[in-house]
């Protein structure tokens, strides 16, 4: 088996007296999709924020194997290195598209931003790449100059994905990317994500409260409650034969719904 791409150890975050994340640890391998599930308030979004370095951890570490193969503690990276990593080798697809997109900038500009950020200065090439990526996430070419404010919820999420993947990242974080969408729109979006993940061999950490999403996309699953990991394992195993009583309840409620 290959060396892990990401190694999370003992991540802990307190908000006042409340432990939002309590000693969470796991390893993620290249091309692996990990789903983090749990109810709202279970700490799963905090975990994502901690991994991305957007929330300062009280304890624990996140180690990432850089493109040169050397594992680095992300807390030890300087701001320049960290930001460069975030906009090239990582992606972050947000639940709220308005946080992940520039709503006043055209779809083409949204996709092109990362390219310009790493020094691309040829308009024609930027535009061609943007059009290519819009096609890959099934956004029509004639929408390239429209701002996301004129897009539906599902299209906005597709645009976020294109914007994130344009630099060929190896790791993508996704925070509830399908919540709030119609069921049919969700299904199409999940299909797109699944296709791209497989085609590009992406490693993904996807946070979701929806076990169906986890089952469809992920290889492994991590169940959180009250800031702690209470169960982890292969997705099918955990969903078909949950061990922890809480997981059993979660699974049962999904079946009941």
């Amino acid at each position: 088996m290959s060396a892990p791409l990401l190694q999370v150890q003992g991540l802990t975050k307190r908000y006042g007296p409340r432990l939002a994340c309590d000693g969470v640890g796991f390893a993620l391998h290249p091309g692996e999709v990990l789903a983090v599930v749990g109810e709202s308030g279970s700490g799963k979004s905090t975990l994502l924020g901690l991994i991305a370095g957007e929330v300062a951890a009280d304890a624990g570490s996140v180690t990432y194997r850089m493109r040169d193969g050397v594992p680095r503690d992300l807390a030890a990276l300087g701001p320049a290195e960290r930001r460069a990593l975030m906009r090239t080798d990582w992606g972050f697809v947000r639940q709220d598209a308005a946080q992940g997109l520039r709503m006043a900038v055209s779809a083409g500009g949204n996709v092109g931003e990362r390219l310009m950020g790493i020094g691309e200065r040829h308009y024609g090439r930027i535009r061609a790449t943007a059009l290519d990526w819009l096609a890959r996430v099934e956004i029509a070419a004639d929408r390239v100059d429209d701002p996301p404010t004129r897009f539906s919820g599902g299209m906005r999420q597709r645009l976020q994905i294109a914007r994130n993947l344009v630099t060929g990242p190896r790791l993508v974080l996704m925070d509830e990317p399908t919540s709030g969408l119609d069921v049919s729109v969700q299904a199409r979006l999940l299909d797109t994500i699944r296709g791209l993940v497989a085609e590009l061999g992406l490693a993904v950490i996807i946070v979701t409260h929806d076990l169906a999403v986890a089952r469809l996309l992920s290889h492994r699953i991590l169940v959180m409650r009250g800031g702690r990991v209470i169960e982890t394992g292969l997705t099918d195993q955990v969903l078909d034969d949950p061990q922890a009583p809480y997981t059993q309840l979660l699974v049962a409620s999904v079946l009941a719904a």
């Binding site: 307190r14 908000y15 006042g16 007296p17």
Partner: protein, 370 residues
């Protein structure tokens, strides 16, 4: 034949002369004296001193006269004058606990040491225009209450509550010199002392509106007026060559201490926190609004969610100064020919391109149609 417009100098001179004439108004009406403004427009004078960051009632009154009563213009005159004054140093911190109070009210305790002192306030007047004032009148003297047994001892509510640990203590004396935003550029994030300076100098209308917005849900702070006091405090200064404080005189101040609910955090038990307001002279509205905004700007420090305008220090500090605001808004009336010319040229070109792109082939030429 075209001759470029000239004569800017003469036009400016004449405009200034006209301004002086209009300022004086009808010469049949007696001219206002600076002393009249100082004595009879005292709240206006106080506001100009507060926002002008300079305690000098005569200068503020003169500025108001020169500015035809325009507050922002008067603040401008005071500030520009202040720039040229030598800076000797900072006074000792004033002790508002030892204030000789003319007014002191608390909304949190019915009675307290030193008592509630109503003092000169509009609060319970009915806002009926008093036509008797048209003629001028000599007011009846107000009766003074018999001094109570605790007269002269008027501890601050915050000191009373602080003893029981119910209220966050005053931040400890850091020893470091307090920042001065008239002498150093603001560096974000700005510390509380600098924020308070900015709010004290800030436009009353803007600070009032921001304070109001926190009450309407844009960054709620659950405030109580712990205390408002207005009176005079002694001002002391330590000259380097002497090494001990010497009294400089007395300054009238209004102080507002807001008490705000706080649920506590992992480290700190639940207690009340404070918002603080302090202005020259009598300026309760400003002091209260300042205290509200001061507390809301502490949201991040206290681990509260930050989202509302009044919680955003870059937004508040960058926009609260009336001189900066008025200067930049009004600079739009300066000539912008050059930029406008550039835009004009661009719009013409874009329109020409638009027309060319939308001209249907085969459409008859305009000349032919006419």
């Amino acid at each position: 034949m075209y001759v470029a417009a000239k004569g800017g100098e003469a036009a400016i001179d004449n405009a200034h002369r006209l301004l002086a004439e209009i300022r004086r108004g009808d010469p049949v009406v007696p001219e206002l004296s600076v002393a009249q403004i100082r004595e009879q427009m005292s709240l206006l004078v106080d506001r100009v001193m507060t926002e002008g960051s300079l305690h000098d009632p005569d200068l503020a009154a003169l500025a108001l006269k020169q500015a035809r009563g325009d507050v922002v213009e008067a603040v401008f005159l005071v500030r520009a004058y202040r720039t040229t004054l030598p800076h000797f140093g900072a006074s000792e911190p004033v002790d508002t606990g030892a204030m000789t109070v003319s007014r002191r009210v608390s909304a949190t305790f019915k009675d307290l040491p030193g008592g509630q002192v109503l003092g000169p306030t509009f609060d319970y007047t009915h806002r009926l225009v008093d036509f008797a004032l048209t003629e001028g009148s000599i007011p009846e003297p107000a009766e003074e209450a018999e001094p109570g047994p605790d007269a002269g001892h008027c501890p601050r509510v915050t000191d009373i509550l602080g003893q029981a640990g119910l209220l966050e203590p005053s931040p400890p004396e850091a020893g470091a010199p307090v920042g001065d935003l008239t002498r150093e550029p603001v560096d974000y994030p700005a510390d509380r002392a600098v924020r308070l300076q900015a709010l004290a100098r800030g436009d009353e209308g803007f600070v009032l509106a921001l304070g109001y917005s926190t009450q309407r849900g844009y960054g709620r702070t659950h405030p109580f007026v712990g205390e408002i006091r207005f009176g005079t405090v002694a001002l002391e200064f330590v000259p380097e060559e002497l090494g001990f404080p010497v009294p400089l005189g007395e300054v009238p101040l209004t102080e507002c201490q807001m008490l705000n609910q706080f649920r506590g955090s992992g480290e700190v038990p639940p207690q009340f926190t404070r918002g603080y307001g302090l202005v020259f002279g009598q300026g309760e509205r400003k002091a209260m609004a300042m205290a509200l905004v001061d507390r809301s700007l502490r949201a991040a420090e206290l681990g509260e969610a930050v989202g509302a305008p009044a919680q955003d220090q870059e937004f508040v500090l960058a926009h609260c100064d009336s001189l900066q605001a008025t200067g930049f808004v009004e600079h739009l009336k300066l000539p912008h020919y050059v930029d406008f010319q550039a835009e004009l040229e661009l719009v013409r070109r874009l329109r020409a391109e638009h027309e060319a792109a939308h001209a249907e082939p085969g459409e008859p030429l305009r000349e032919a149609a006419e």
